[in-house]
């Protein structure tokens, strides 16, 4: 689990977290008591219609603005570590 989240948790953090999580998860059991047969899950709580717009190109941020917060950049691109070893 800790690996899936890419949080790099320490052993101590994992231990404390799992204790707190199991407390929280115990609280979820109350949901199983609810009869939800035939109930559809809420995907859009306030119904929306006509959210599509024409596909028109509009101005957005400049390249310099897009890169302005990058921890590391090169030749107008974000720098990413090698993924293949």
């Amino acid at each position: 689990m800790a690996r899936l989240t890419r949080l790099g948790l320490s052993e101590e953090e994992v231990e404390r977290c799992s204790l707190q999580l199991s407390n929280i998860l115990d609280n979820f059991d109350i949901l199983r008591q609810v009869d939800t047969s035939g109930v559809s899950p809420a995907t859009h709580i306030i119904p929306q219609q006509g959210v599509l717009r024409d596909d028109v190109v509009v101005d957005s941020c400049s390249l310099a603005e897009v890169l302005s917060n990058a921890p590391s950049q090169e030749d107008g691109c974000f720098t990413v570590q090698a993924i293949l070893e």
């Binding site: 989240t5 949080l7 109350i30 899950p41 974000f78």
Partner: protein
């Protein structure tokens, strides 16, 4: 009006004085900046104060007024923005180490709309990291203190915004509300806080926490100001596909002190076990006042699915958060812990050092609940319960114009009291989160004070701890909420009390 006390004004009072040129925006802005310098060291509501930009904007507004131009209601009025809403050129941190140095290249739509009215943006307010928390103790920088008793929490996650309005560090503020994050701190600090209907206000430029629950809304000194800010920020935005096309009324037209014949229900599940007697007593008194004003009160209302709200919320919000926060990998923006080791090791180090404990806890919880084998049991079941809760509200609103509850079951708690017990912390939102689950609007207004049972030195006689009343309404019926809140406010003086600071 003494020049030094201009910071005490409401928006509508300041607007009249600006329009008639009795004061200038520069004087007003300087007064508020002085107030920040005076009190923020004690309450710590602000993360960033953009003094120079604010003074420049104020001068520009004065120029317009002096040229004889008509000004809009928010022109020249100083505002603080919760630090989860993007402001072009002003650092936007989410009170997280992850975004400590992030300077957005664009404005959120709500910020654009305030700027279109020539609002004076003073800076950004402290919050629980990524809006996850109910006390502002989860800020990665420093906790914010409740001005009514500095040893207590201001509520959260918009604690900085609520405190700023309560202490006159701004004439109003913007906050966000995912499970109560506008209303609960508004109640704890004795200011007005509105969570609009899901989709009423654009979220373009809001750093996402739980996308099916988040809404932006105003925190103000009174109900009239709340209507004025709603007029500015509500409405459809083509850049946010969840924003509604529903027409926006002039909310100030709902500010009539007449609620004769309105049907108000009091759902008994909101007076949960653990509701403090002072809170219950204040609510009963407030409801009596609403009855005297002509409202038709029904105490015999039940929304039985309310008791599942906390559990459903604690699945849906972390699930959405775990997906939304996956983007923080130290590549495009935000904190980066360096590139030593493999790409996975580097990402893990960045997230380990960039996120605080509550954020990690919710990412863990959400990842778990969405993982293979658990999806049906947790997320899907929570979403089905959500449908049932929404249907229950729909049925109640066939009978009632609005529902009235406490904003929180307790008065502001002591700092540190709930920090090591996440379940106790989550209970602080038990009355507010069903509103986000159902997507409906709700307002919290000052409804009284509980006498402090352990007065701290300097708190002064008669200074109690604030109690908020929540009014919940039908989707897109913010107008009725403002009308009830306005009528109540006109008949009481709670909103006139100022904290002892």
């Amino acid at each position: 009006m003494q020049a030094g006390k201009l910071y005490e004004l409401t928006i509508h009072e300041a607007h009249e004085l600006l329009r008639s040129r009795q004061i200038s925006s520069l004087e007003l802005t300087k007064s508020v900046l002085m107030r920040i310098a005076e009190v923020d060291g004690s309450v710590r509501a602000c993360v960033t104060v953009a003094e120079d930009a604010a003074l420049q904007e104020a001068k520009k507004v004065d120029h317009y007024i002096n040229a004889g131009q008509e000004i809009s209601p928010l022109a020249g009025i100083p505002v603080l923005i919760k630090d989860v809403i993007c402001t072009r050129g002003i650092r936007t941190t989410c009170s997280s180490k992850m975004l400590e140095n992030f300077v957005p290249p664009y404005d959120a739509t709500v910020v654009e709309r305030l700027k279109a009215q020539r609002a004076v943006i003073l800076g950004k307010t402290n919050m629980d990291e990524f809006a996850m928390g109910s006390s502002n103790e989860h800020s990665a920088f420093f906790p914010t203190h409740n001005p009514w008793d500095l040893s207590r929490v201001p509520g959260g996650s918009s604690g900085g915004s609520a405190v700023a309005v309560s202490t006159d560090e701004a004439l109003y503020a913007l906050g966000t509300d995912t499970g109560g994050s506008i209303r609960q701190p508004a109640g704890f600090c004795s200011v007005v806080g509105l969570k609009p209907t899901y989709g009423r206000v654009s979220r373009f430029g809001l750093v996402a926490f739980a996308s099916s629950l988040d809404q932006i809304g105003p925190l103000t000194k009174d109900v009239t100001d709340c209507a004025l800010v709603m007029n500015a920020i509500a409405g459809h935005d083509p850049r946010d596909s969840t924003s509604a096309c529903h027409p926006v009324p002039d909310y100030t037209r709902h500010l009539v002190p007449d609620i004769k014949g309105l049907k108000l229900g009091i759902p008994r599940e909101y007076l949960v076990e653990g509701t403090q007697p002072e809170v219950r007593a204040a609510l009963e008194k407030a409801i009596d006042r609403l009855r005297e004003l002509g409202a038709d009160i029904d105490w015999d209302v039940s929304l039985p699915h309310t008791k599942y709200g906390l559990a459903a919320y604690n699945i849906i919000a972390p699930c959405e958060a775990s997906a939304n926060l996956a983007r923080y990998d130290g590549v495009k923006y935000g904190y980066c812990a360096g590139s030593a080791g493999s790409v996975i090791e580097a990402t893990e180090r960045t997230r380990q050092l960039g996120f605080g404990p509550e954020v990690k806890r919710r990412i863990m919880l959400g990842t778990y609940a969405l993982s293979a084998g658990y999806y049906d049991a947790y997320y899907l079941q929570a979403q089905k319960v959500r449908t049932l809760m929404k249907q229950e509200f729909d049925r109640a609103f066939e009978k009632y114009d609005a529902l009235v509850t406490p904003t929180s079951p307790t008065v502001p708690f002591k700092m540190g009291d709930r920090l090591d017990d996440p379940m106790a912390m989550y209970l602080a939102d038990v009355c507010t989160l069903p509103v986000n689950i159902a997507g409906i609007p709700a307002i919290s207004i000052p409804a009284g004070f509980a006498e402090d049972r352990s007065p701290s030195p300097g708190s002064g006689p008669g200074q109690g701890l604030p109690i908020g009343m929540q009014i919940m309404g039908k989707p897109f019926d913010e107008g009725t909420l403002l009308r009830i809140a306005f009528a109540y406010e006109q008949a009481t003086y709670w909103h006139k009390r100022r904290p002892p600071i």
